[in-house]
Symmetry: C2
Subunit: 406 residues, 2 copies
């Protein structure tokens, strides 16, 4: 008999039992946002590949401008003008200057650029410089951004738009990423009807399939919905087998009754091994997890709020593990709007709304019995109350994990 595990033990179990299954594939830069980088990316060239000006002005030898001022400008000969997008493959002569636009190439020998605001064109081929330049001023030098071999991005990172910009800068238009994981979702329960159907007496709508599909899609997985399977062990076993064959991971949702849970356990044991039978958390206790080969099978609680937390806290980290994806859990500090009891000996998770009150961010717990889906609706995030905490007084500081459209 497997014992109930704490959330920390479940995460450790995931680390030890599962490994990367998602192969590398190549996508174009325009399809790479949100994907998991499969390889370290190093630059192969210099960026920029030439010395550039960061202002509109005149490229100079800094020493030729030392000591000049508004009253006594340095007079330099205008040797040439560099046009945007063209090279400057010549040497700047002493006591000479060269007009360059912002982003334009700076000729050899020049070590700084004077902004046009501090110059005067006398119209006779000479330029007055009214401010002395420091070497390196208003310039970016070849390789300042990157040089061959410089590590730009580390594998495992979920690519952001900033990273896409960096990849474009170094010319990596084909990006090695992990293929998307395919996750199967099977709903079980004699009482379930599809959301579009009006429930008859004793029936309820299947909330978990669309919710899980949305969570998994937002996370970046492909989802196959296997529909609602009624509580028949043979039919369920056949469906699980089909899903395991077609997917990287399979979620069973619903079936909160003891009979269905037992059936799910037997099915998982027949197909591989059961790893977990219960998590010391509220809501979410009746969770099971097993594997068939390398493929995880998770039996989620039937209550949508419980299914939500188990998916957020364990299924998504499990999928991250299967694709070597870096994870972060950034939380924001808020004050709780009212006291909240907690004396369960197990970690407790609570949805909340957030509201700014002057400088403070206030978290309003969305209360309700655990079967109520509307305790999720309108939530801005959630927070945890650890199992050794006996409750939170009004105004206590809590750490909220914010949902960002996911």
């Amino acid at each position: 008999m497997l014992s109930v595990k704490t959330p920390e033990e479940v995460l450790a179990l995931i680390e030890s039992e599962f490994s990367c299954v998602a192969e590398c594939e190549t996508v174009t830069l325009f399809d790479a946002i949100g994907r998991v980088l499969a390889e370290d990316i190093a630059a192969e060239e210099y960026v920029p590949d030439f010395d550039r000006s960061t202002v509109d002005g005149y490229a100079v030898h800094a020493r030729d401008t030392f000591g000049c001022s508004d009253a006594i400008p340095a007079i330099l000969n205008l040797q040439s003008e560099v046009l945007m997008g063209e090279g400057a493959d010549f040497e700047l002569e002493e006591e000479n200057c060269c007009a360059v636009p912002t982003g334009g190439a700076v000729p050899k020998g020049a070590d700084s650029v004077v902004m046009i605001e501090y110059t005067e064109n006398y119209g006779d081929g000479s330029i007055g410089i009214a401010k002395s330049a420091a070497p390196g001023q208003n310039m970016i030098f070849r390789g300042d951004d990157v040089y061959p071999g410089k590590l730009v991005l580390k594998k495992g990172r979920v690519l952001s738009s900033q990273d896409i910009g960096a990849l474009a800068a170094i010319g990596r238009v084909e990006v090695p990423v992990r293929r998307k994981l395919t996750v199967g979702v099977i709903s079980t329960g004699d009482e379930l009807v599809p959301p579009e159907q009006k429930p008859a007496a004793g029936q309820v709508r299947d909330v978990n399939s669309p919710m899980l599909t949305a969570m998994l899609t937002a996370f970046g997985a492909k989802v196959i919905n296997y529909g609602i399977v009624i509580d028949d062990e043979k039919k369920l076993a056949a469906m699980v087998e089909k899903a395991v064959a077609e997917c990287d991971a399979v979620l069973l949702s619903g079936g909160s009754s003891v009979g269905v849970k037992d059936a799910a356990c037997r099915i998982i044991e027949n197909m591989g091994s059961l790893l977990l039978h219960g998590i010391a958390m509220k809501p979410g206790k009746p969770t099971i997890m097993g594997k068939s080969g390398n493929k995880p099978l998770v039996g989620l609680p039937g209550h949508p709020v419980a299914a939500y937390f188990v998916t957020k806290l364990f299924v998504l980290p499990l999928l991250a593990r299967l694709s070597m994806r870096e994870t972060h859990n950034y939380t924001i500090t808020a004050k709780i709007s009212e006291s909240l009891g907690a004396n369960h000996g197990r970690a407790q998770y609570q949805c909340c709304r957030l509201e700014r009150r002057g400088e403070e961010l206030v978290a309003y717990p969305i209360r309700g019995k655990s079967g109520l889906i509307t305790t999720l609706a309108g939530a801005d995030g959630y927070f945890a109350i650890s199992r050794d905490c006996e409750g939170l007084p009004e105004g206590a500081e809590i750490q909220v994990t914010v949902s960002m459209g996911d």
Copy 2:
């Protein structure tokens, strides 16, 4: 001549000059994640539509169990068994009980459910109850979740997976959302080559198009890329006109030189009006904004880091305004790893990496000249230094806006 505006003034300008242009359209529940809800959603029925048990056990009249214990159980007659997914359209008799599964319907008259763990089936048609039940215990009543007319979600919300669950629960499988905005991106600059091309002397890759495309796509907009237009005012005007006709908003990126900026200003004035010429921020100062009819035109700085911040801080709020989308700016508290100077009289924005050091979150500023795209690569977020701040000492607390794969 328009004066340079502060970031707060720019946001106020956006509020006053633009309004919603995105009509309502209907999508299915499975396509609604991340979309902007276009109408308030109220329930039209009771959820659940019947009194349900939240445990496996026996439905009872609580009063029939008062005072019972392990030693002196209450003996109740087993009247019936309710099966999962079936109604319980009968009255529970006094001194009787009825077997119900988790989630199953509870017969009329019953006001609580005793968990199976506290009962004993004597096998002779009677059940021993070893723990007295409180009225309402282990039950969810009809309409506890929602009832007709109850507001479930407010318009403007970006739908999360939790919201999708709530919509499924109330049977809203067709969801009214704002249509996606179409945003045109035009790159300008004689020095630009597409990212797949090796730059010749004096040329650089177009970093902004792929970066902006990624940002706008992650935000939920459709992007039309109009490619790179060389610095020719007539060609640029024609392209802007085409983009304005096809899109809800148009971004011009690049063209950091004075000539191109002036051309962009003239083009915007010819097509409507110029609203903004410069923002008091660093990086990002050379930003222009105007409108043609209801359609915003934004001229972004050519430097990728500047273009990133202007898009994040002003273009996305502008698009939110065009689709009545609720916005939040949640920040996390971190300590800065090193002192950072700032004495510019304008708001300064700085990318950073985040690292957890024990209980603390440490923000490492990614330094570099503003033209360097790799100051973006690998950033986990950014923070602002207000214009009246002269710098931050090492260890100062800062508020970091985290990028979450966007």
